[in-house]
Point group: C2
């Protein structure tokens, strides 16, 4: 395969509205107004998030969008008590999972290194590390992609991964690690903004 480096379009800055929407003004929402979120919108959220970078373009994240009434009731019975009402009031919930067999796609997604399929078939520890890190990176992109669609996101991890995996993704090799409630916020939907770490606590220079 011939490799050509590509020129890139000139870069711009994200405008203040975009910064507010995705980062500064974004809030984790705990109560939604129950309005459904159409499957086309959920698919569009995925289509936007999937462009974010992952290790060797491995893209180990998998998603079960729970949007039917039956599905949301079943999920509400599975998550921790504190998350039940949130799940029931959301328009949909994205269950995020890592595919333990993501390396089988490497010849397609990373044509420069089709050999990663065999390497990671053997090296389960590296595969598991890459899967965990890159799936979580993709979860971050997905949260911001929800906001980019004018919807509120309520990420949560208060559930038993074994139980959710067995109930919503049996026979897939996927494993659930997080959920994101998606929808339109109820009138009083968020807790007060809690403080963020100061740059001096978090950043060093070298």
């Amino acid at each position: 395969m011939e490799i050509r480096l590509e020129g890139l379009p000139p870069l711009q800055e994200l405008d203040p509205d975009g910064r507010e929407l995705l980062f500064k003004g974004g809030r984790t929402v705990y109560a939604f107004d129950g309005r459904p979120v159409p499957e086309e919108t959920l698919a569009s959220i995925w289509e936007l998030a999937r462009w974010g970078p992952t290790s060797a373009n491995s893209q180990p994240l998998r998603v079960v969008f729970v949007s039917s009434t039956e599905g949301r009731e079943r999920l509400a019975d599975t998550v921790n008590r504190g998350n039940r009402r949130k799940v029931l009031s959301a328009g949909a919930t994205a269950l995020l999972a890592t595919d333990d067999r993501f390396h089988e796609h490497m010849p397609t997604v990373m044509p420069l290194r089709p050999d990663y399929r065999e390497i990671w078939e053997e090296d389960v520890e590296t595969r598991s590390e890459i899967g965990r890190l890159s799936a979580a990176l993709q979860a971050g992109y997905l949260i911001l992609a929800v906001r980019a669609h004018g919807l509120a996101a309520g990420p949560f991890s208060g559930f038993d991964p074994d139980e959710v995996t067995a109930a919503f993704m049996p026979d897939t090799g996927w494993r659930a690690f997080m959920g994101i409630n998606i929808g339109y916020p109820a009138l009083e939907a968020a807790l007060p903004r809690f403080p963020r770490m100061d740059v001096d606590d978090v950043v060093r220079w070298a």
Copy 2:
């Protein structure tokens, strides 16, 4: 502490330019033009990324921005061979780490649950899981925040974590897991766009 739920401002959609900049048009850059990135810009990238959500607002990510000539040369000698030239040509490199002692900040960052400090002092396994997941979410926000500043990002994990941790964050309790080269792309800077997984391979409905 009195808890009041807050009303939220009306949500909007991210405009097409913003979607292109952060997601669809964003490219991992492998060669930079060497122009430095000022410390104010690096701090501003952090200030934007820090608003993204984490488990219980735990914010376990820590960052060492390597931007001095001496620091970049030292880093280039530490990373895997394939990443040396990238590090040397970048304006700066952000080394991302997880702080194993992040729970000490819980009374400040999550005033509703100051007891998480003691709970996670004991429960090292849960602490480690939360640290790993939330630090990786924050890494995703940071990559997009770099792009939001009109700069290119080149995330990489090709280095020995023990070595980078010892060289750049000794005596901190932090542990490096990923780097992001930051700067202005060279004229021919990116590999061809590799394919993303189709929605039917990745998404299920329930």
